[in-house]
Symmetry: C2
Subunit: 392 residues, 2 copies
Amino acid sequence: MNLKCLTVVLATAFTSSLSHAQTSDMAVKEDFKPSTLNQPTQEYPQVNSQGYARFKIKAPKADSVRVSLGLGGRGGTKLVKGDDGYFTGTTEGPMDEGFHYYHLTVDGGVFNDPGTGNYYGSTRWESGIEIPAHDQDFYALKDVPHGNVQQILFPSKSTNTPGRRALVYTPPGYEKGTTRYPVLYLQHGWGEDETAWSVQGHANLIMDNLIAEGKTKPFIIVMTYGMTNNFKPGPRPVALATPGGGARPAGGFGGFPKGMLDNGFETVLTEELIPYVDAHFRTYSDKAHRAMAGLSMGGMETHAITLAKPGMFDYYALLSGGTYTPTELGKVKPKLVFMSCGSKENPTGVNSAAVALKDAGYNAVSFVSENTAHEFLTWRRSLNELAPLLFK
Amino acid sequence: MNLKCLTVVLATAFTSSLSHAQTSDMAVKEDFKPSTLNQPTQEYPQVNSQGYARFKIKAPKADSVRVSLGLGGRGGTKLVKGDDGYFTGTTEGPMDEGFHYYHLTVDGGVFNDPGTGNYYGSTRWESGIEIPAHDQDFYALKDVPHGNVQQILFPSKSTNTPGRRALVYTPPGYEKGTTRYPVLYLQHGWGEDETAWSVQGHANLIMDNLIAEGKTKPFIIVMTYGMTNNFKPGPRPVALATPGGGARPAGGFGGFPKGMLDNGFETVLTEELIPYVDAHFRTYSDKAHRAMAGLSMGGMETHAITLAKPGMFDYYALLSGGTYTPTELGKVKPKLVFMSCGSKENPTGVNSAAVALKDAGYNAVSFVSENTAHEFLTWRRSLNELAPLLFK
């Protein structure tokens, strides 16, 4: 791991996602519509065509309600109580396009916005809001053949459970065919879990659309929980299906940045999950048909595991998750090294790392997502760029 | 539909789930443990060995916090504020075993408990708590082969979406074999969605365990959203994967009890979903290998659709969802009519309906779940009883 790069990742992980491209004294257009992530029949939160977000929370006897979204340093957006018992407020500027996690502080307690859905981030189920992106078409649900996303429960002796959960995207036609497919192992970020890539990331829809347009070879994607030593008792609070038991391990915080590189996960991935997937799905099980990618902490896991197991993967991708150096790779020549981030993160870092790798004879590609930070639109776009480069 | 029975279903749907088997003046044992559904690292809510539930909510500047669980008529459980800024309280009696939905009222606003997970019920994502059942072994995660639960996105012209979501349980070994399987179409209740049976109901684990013990033939289960005219905009707030679009239909409340029998769903199920499943999974697509079951409103849908389409299903099951009469069935002789409910619902109704059907020459079975009401433990047990009777 390039420590300078890691520092940048840490520093940019929690910056404000308020767009800096527009000033806050612009006139706010009154064309607000319910966020697409809202719970059924819920009118708030809303988003306008400029990317402002407006919130409305019922709490007639509360003294204060605050939304964590907004200018980070100022504690988000303070809502104002009306005579009707509702607190309302609008972000002081447009938000970056894409998905944002948030929560409320109601009279000093942290709660979710009852108007919208819940998404696992920051090691808790957070509220979520979507600012429509100008390029959202690439992850839209379209009238194309759809792959499936299935929950598997694989036995994991190393973590003492008869069923650890992973989600597996199989491309359209998988269920009827006899073809074998390559596999991408795709990891979430710190505080997230195995649902992040298919729910917040729309990984399945991105693949469906790329495949329908002939832009990528069909392949399987496997997404699992990337931590073994913290934060994840057996039953999932919200899930496709609840796998049940699985001991909550003793011991304390094992997250990020403390205990960031979870050696236990390498065992789960390489000794338990990969063999299970190769035994239960029609995969090509050689290095040439296996990729690993991850966002943020998942990128750090990818970095560590690909270097520790040079015989397992032939495609490496770090999405807002650091860089590789020629020295680290040494004699290992993966078919592809992909590094990406948002333009509000460390574009110079990933671009210069790619140049250094190319100068040293590696096949390296960098991608910078315009006008996004350490958030999911960066990673949706990164997957959309990465997929066509895999398994060529 | 037997209207008398329907009335009973309605009347019992929202009764208290506080156990009446034990008095509230018993000594409360101080052996509380975190609920198995809690979010990672969260210590509250807790449950003791008698079934009391204890809550602890941080809201230092709030005046009042109430939990909806408890004696229904009295507005649930009022929490008391401590000097540390936390509100705490314990139900005034033991809760029924099994899963319960609930929410908080904080200074007059409705929020979820940040300590636990979220479950779709009452047309919103609610909090959930699990009171361990004495017979919970049958839905435990065990060291047995596990089936998968997969999201499919099937095109639905009748509801104007290129991808409506269903969840499909495939039994262990499905992915490697060439065998065909019978199919059970299994519906959720009012205010729930297609996630209810696998998340709250543990349908996949119940099947895994029954199959491992040789108690049931392996079969596929298909679970989809049972409403077409309300409450469900395209993107799911919390989901395995987000299918994206799908127009939110114009028009008002189309739920239960108003608009209870959603004719649009019959079209989705029989003309869109079933053909898709038969085309994409290795099913037996004849009547003899197809069952329909549902809980509560899903039972009413089952009742209506099986009678309207007598050529489609050979096994009918209503779980806390009414009864059939010999007059309704007429000359149609399904291989099985299964009717169940909790002992706190209408056991006389389902038992006497089964007697009447048997007297008239039908193969009818009734099942009463002891000491449960209109809640998920009744339906977990019902599925556990039903599955071995199917496709024999």
